[in-house]
């Protein structure tokens, strides 16, 4: 199946960024934007066809040529609009693949159920759930700047800044197979200065590199010890902001018996949060309030997570918490300029719901029907999980013979419950789940291997 042309509804940050990536990849992209001024701006900046109008109406969708697209993405800020567009695409126009952005989990359920009896694939992408998942994964891996899960929970991809004392500093990438012979644990992407690579075997890891490792669950402890990250600090987790993401995170942490303290500025929201949580102490105040942080013994906090709707405050609070002795700071920021800046500011990890949403949409575009979101590393490298389907080139022979392009790395296979290390003479078989690292500009080329 060829994916064909793509229609995006909503020219906000998500729609815009997604359109940018996809048209750069070589797809024909059309974008519908309701606001005339914004639509005009977009047609100046984007390499995509812009249709100005209401994407919840059939004439506008027709004008955008919905009958001939392979994929529709409804990505406005509003659940209801996205759902209407999604229903029209899946139930009226029979669009083969429909991806809908929704924040309310109850909306998710309805749309997915409604698509079950249709000959189309309809999925929801939820920025809040994706954010909570990502924070929870980060909390599992001390020292990591970014953590993604694949194959359900079987493989992690985690990024670490390599300290000088690390056993990885000076190690050749191919030597990781010497260390981890029985599991697909290896370096899948390296950022060195402005450069991002999917490393070949002869690449040498250097101190100061940001290295993303694919890690089989059982090897996590060993990889952490080789990275040389400081040991995890025991202590409370402090969540700043009872936003939907903050509250969902607190609930999840509470369920796994973590000690959590929450800060919320608004008294009504704080009270409501307190009533929904049973073991979490909710304090009224601001994460940017030094006296409050000190009073709450911030220097004994293992991780400080800033999740308020004011992203600049999150950044300030995160820096402050770090300076006052918190073990680790994770902050929510979404503005593209801020996202790219934060890494240089000494923040341990950032959460960008926008990027996570785009990651999930991209995953859907690459792999179709796969559970986890694609990991987007600095705009340059994608880690995607695909299912090997009948008739695709990936299953046509041993890996050493199918000649994957440079910049594409088959990282791991999941066959049934078994984790398989893909070596040259091995073949991918139909039904395997395949974890792939790909330099973004090669992703369209990758599609030739993964689609039938």
């Amino acid at each position: 199946m060829e994916l064909g042309d793509i229609l995006i509804v909503g020219g906000g940050l998500v729609g815009q960024n997604l359109a940018e990536r996809l048209s750069r990849d070589g797809y024909n992209v059309t974008l519908i934007e309701r606001d005339p001024d914004k639509a005009r701006d977009l047609s100046d900046t984007l390499d995509a066809r812009i249709v100005q109008g209401d994407g919840t109406t059939t004439p506008v969708l027709r004008e955008a040529d919905i009958e001939n697209v392979g994929l529709l993405v409804a990505a406005t800020e509003r659940d209801e609009c996205n759902l209407v567009t999604g229903f029209l695409a899946s139930h009226v126009f029979g669009t083969p693949h429909v991806v809908v952005r929704v924040r309310d989990p109850l909306h998710e359920d309805g749309f997915q159920k409604a698509c079950l009896d249709q000959p189309v694939e309809g999925v929801c992408v939820n920025p809040d759930t994706a954010s909570v998942d990502r924070i929870a994964a980060l909390l599992e891996v001390p020292g990591a700047v970014d953590v993604m899960k694949f194959f359900g929970d079987g493989m992690l991809v985690a990024g670490f800044r390599i300290p000088t004392v690390s056993d990885f500093a000076g190690l050749r990438v191919s030597d990781m197979t010497l260390l981890f012979a029985t599991t697909p644990t290896l370096a899948v992407a390296i950022q060195r200065g402005r450069l991002w690579i999917v490393p070949g075997g002869t690449e040498v890891i250097e101190a100061g590199d940001l290295v993303y490792f694919a890690i089989a669950r059982d090897e996590l402890h060993d990889v952490l010890s080789l990275v040389g990250a400081p040991p995890e600090r025991q202590g409370r987790i402090m969540v700043d902001g009872a936003s939907p993401i903050g509250l969902a995170l607190a609930k999840r942490l509470e369920a796994s018996d973590e000690r959590v303290v929450m800060i919320e500025e608004d008294s009504v929201i704080a009270e409501r949060a307190a009533s929904e949580l049973s073991h979490v102490l909710v304090i009224r105040g601001k994460g940017t309030d030094q006296a409050l942080l000190e009073e709450e013994e911030i220097d004994k906090v293992s991780t400080f997570v800033a999740l308020t709707d004011d992203h600049e405050s999150n950044l300030v609070a995160g820096l402050l918490a770090k300076r006052l002795g918190a073990g680790r700071s994770i902050v929510l920021v979404d503005n593209p300029a801020m996202v790219s800046m934060v890494g240089d500011m000494g923040m341990d990890a950032i959460i960008s719901p926008r990027l996570l949403t785009i990651g999930q949409m991209i995953q859907h575009i690459r792999g179709g029907g796969v559970r986890s979101g694609a990991a987007l590393l600095g705009d340059k490298v994608e880690i995607v999980e695909v299912e090997a389907v009948e008739g695709c080139r990936l299953v046509s022979g041993p890996l050493m013979e199918i000649k994957l392009p440079q910049g594409v790395l088959v990282v791991a296979l999941q066959r049934g419950d078994e984790l398989v290390v893909p070596r040259g003479p091995d073949s991918v078989i139909v039904g395997d789940r395949v974890l792939i690292a790909v330099e973004s500009h090669k992703s369209l080329e990758l599609e030739k291997y993964t689609l039938a």
Partner: protein
Amino acid sequence: MKITDILVEDAIILDVESDTKSGVLEEMAAALAASVPGLETDRLLKVLSERESLQSTGIGEGVAIPHGKMAGLDSLVASFARSRAGIDFEAIDQQPTHLFFLLVVPEHSAGQHLKALARISRFLRDPEFRGCLMEADDLTSILTAIQQEDGKF
């Protein structure tokens, strides 16, 4: 962890006699077992062969690092051997292998074996160090080369 600390000097073989992969492993296993109490050649060989069958430890550039875990061993031990002629060790670059570091670790070494493996493989990526090992005329020169490399990190 220094390689010098785990290297068993008596087990070092300046020039192996064998010209096959299994032969070199046998020579090295026998030499190490002779110097380390509690280590048996046959059991060690079996462990090493099992590891090789998974994937050759010939990491290219003329280097192999055969290794394995042994129950009953107290601490990490390593030895070194050399073949000037080169041996087909099924290395990943399909080139002959000249330098062999054998690493044997206790069954429950809690990650120490990975650190040792990482250290040895990092050392051997240095062409100068490999050159020193290739050209060394006697045991002392080999030990000096390893000590120097140990001092760098």
